[in-house]
């Protein structure tokens, strides 16, 4: 017994010394790890294997240095958090829309994402030419100005993509029909003009709100994605629905969030930004990420039932 005890103690001591040595080794390689740590962005998403992951981007197609820098951050995010698709909330190309503009303002900045197989699904903003964009293959609009689609995921999600600069009675009727026919747990509309926004320049669009909000409420919409105001904002729940304004993908209107509206739960009007989201079951998590790679808003919400 005594011998066995001595052997055991010796083993423990040897093991401890080995661990110390290993720790020293880890310490010695710390500079390389530090570099890797600097490259990793501080995302706070669950990143579950069976989740549906997507990004939201709006008001981006300027061709500016800032748009390209944010696009590079999006690629870094995708490297560590592989979202499947990007929902575009409008103003996809500013100014002329010649073939070279599609290249400079979309294909070039997002080439690394496109090459990685990420799909972009566009909605039309007031700066977008419907004829040019609805037929553009990489915007996946299938020739339509408004449409819905179900992403390829085990999660129960459907997106409804509207054109809010021309909301014909036919479009509103189609939207209600689509909502009614959908059995998806998560019904996520996205479009350009925000029903709720604290923007001093544009702000809430009461006309769009009065047309669409009753349908959101009737068909248990939980979250709505929009742009138009050139900043990021997450509203406090409005009648139980959270509205995101993500009009900061290239354009930026610094200092434009009017805090007096009382709508904001969080916002950023100081830097270009985009948003990532993850759906798993009844939960949706989100991070809003700036051009500097900072996560400035995060959280989760539970879907309405």
């Amino acid at each position: 017994m005594t011998v066995l005890k001595r052997v055991s103690v010796a083993c423990v001591i040897i093991g401890f010394l080995v661990q110390l040595d290993a720790a020293r080794v880890r310490t010695e390689i710390a500079p390389a790890q530090a570099q890797q740590a600097a490259a990793a962005l501080p995302l706070t998403m669950p990143n579950k294997a069976d989740s549906f992951k997507f990004a939201v981007l709006g008001d981006f197609g300027t061709g500016s240095k800032e748009q390209y820098e944010l696009a590079a951050i999006m690629k870094r995010v995708h490297d560590q958090y592989p979202f499947d698709l990007v929902t575009l909330v409008g103003d996809n190309l500013y100014g002329s829309e010649r073939p070279q503009d599609f290249k400079k303002k979309f294909e070039d900045p997002y080439k690394p994402l496109l090459d990685a197989g990420v799909k972009f699904y566009a909605s039309l903003g007031n700066h977008d030419d419907p004829q040019e964009q609805r037929n553009y293959k990489l915007f996946n609009m299938d020739g339509k100005r408004y449409y819905s689609f179900k992403p390829d995921t085990k999660q129960s999600v459907r997106f409804f993509v509207l054109e809010t600069s021309y909301p014909t009675p036919e479009q509103i009727a189609w939207f209600e029909q689509e909502l009614k026919a959908s059995n998806s747990d998560w019904k996520i509309p996205y479009f350009h003009h925000p029903p709720y926004s604290s923007g001093e320049r544009h702000g809430s669009d009461p006309q769009i709100r009065s047309s669409l909000e009753p349908l959101f409420l009737k068909y248990n919409v939980s979250v709505v994605l929009t742009g138009h105001d050139h900043f990021y904002e997450r509203t406090k729940p409005q009648k139980g629905i959270v509205y995101f304004v993500v009009g900061s993908g290239g354009q930026l209107r610094k200092g434009n969030i009017d805090t007096r509206t009382g709508l904001s739960a969080a916002g950023n009007d100081q830097d270009q930004s985009f948003m990532i989201a993850e759906i798993n079951g009844d939960e949706m998590w989100f991070n809003a990420i700036s051009r500097q790679g900072k996560v400035f808003d995060s959280g989760s919400l539970t879907r309405r039932k």
Binding site: P99, N126, D129, E132, K137, D142, S165, Y166, P206
Partner: protein, 212 residues
């Protein structure tokens, strides 16, 4: 919009759709069809008459719209069809080729050929009704958002690339006559235009549509 305003707009829209469908279904005199199609206009003939005149004016406008679209479609059919896989070069080439064909075919066209003088009056009245309600200031702000206008607006001209399209509030689209897919209403400053969306050109316009 106040309830009476909405009622007038809805009545007018019903009247127009009733008349237009009656005209396309048969060659019966449109006035009689309209009288039958307009409920709630009262038993006396006097108040019904202006509505019927308005409906006739809008039916004439839609007739001109349809004539335009026939020309548009005929010319567009001479071009290679766009597909879901069209490149930006193909889409842009198609749009510019179509605009050239239409501009050549309508080179002598003038403002007011589609928006007939009578329909301009009716549409201005309709816009005034919508924008004079309690939601009027908000509606106008929505239309004028990023809408600086264009000096010397011209029929057949390309819609300026640098100017975003105005938003048309759903409350106004509910009242205006429904258009074929090829064209749509937009505001350029205070002017209401008919925009050919395939060709990106201004088919016609009504100047100064907003009430002073």
């Amino acid at each position: 919009m106040a309830a009476p305003g909405r009622l007038i707009v809805t009545t007018l829209a019903l009247c127009v759709s009733g008349l237009v469908s009656a005209c396309t279904r048969s060659s019966s005199p449109p006035v009689d069809q309209t009288k039958a199609a307009v409920p709630g206009t009262g038993s006396s003939a006097a108040p019904a008459q202006p509505v019927n005149d308005d409906a006739k004016a809008l039916a004439a406008f839609l007739d001109r719209v349809n004539q335009y679209v026939v020309v548009h479609q005929k010319l567009e059919n001479t071009l290679p069809k766009l597909s879901k896989d069209s490149t930006p070069q193909q889409v842009d080439g198609h749009q510019r080729a179509l605009s050239k064909l239409i501009q050549d075919a309508r080179k002598d066209s003038k403002q007011g050929e589609i928006f007939t003088p009578e329909s301009q009056m009716v549409i201005k009245k309709l816009i005034a009704k919508v924008f004079s309600g309690p939601d009027g200031p908000g509606l106008k702000a929505s239309v004028m958002d990023e809408n600086p206008g264009v000096p010397n607006l011209k029929v057949n001209a390309r819609y300026p690339d640098e100017i975003p399209v105005s938003t048309i509030p759903p409350q106004l689209l509910e009242g205006l006559p429904k258009l074929p897919e090829e064209i749509e209403y937009r505001f350029v400053g205070n002017d209401l235009i008919l925009m050919d969306t395939h060709a990106h050109i201004i088919a016609d316009f009504i100047p100064n549509t907003f009430p002073k």
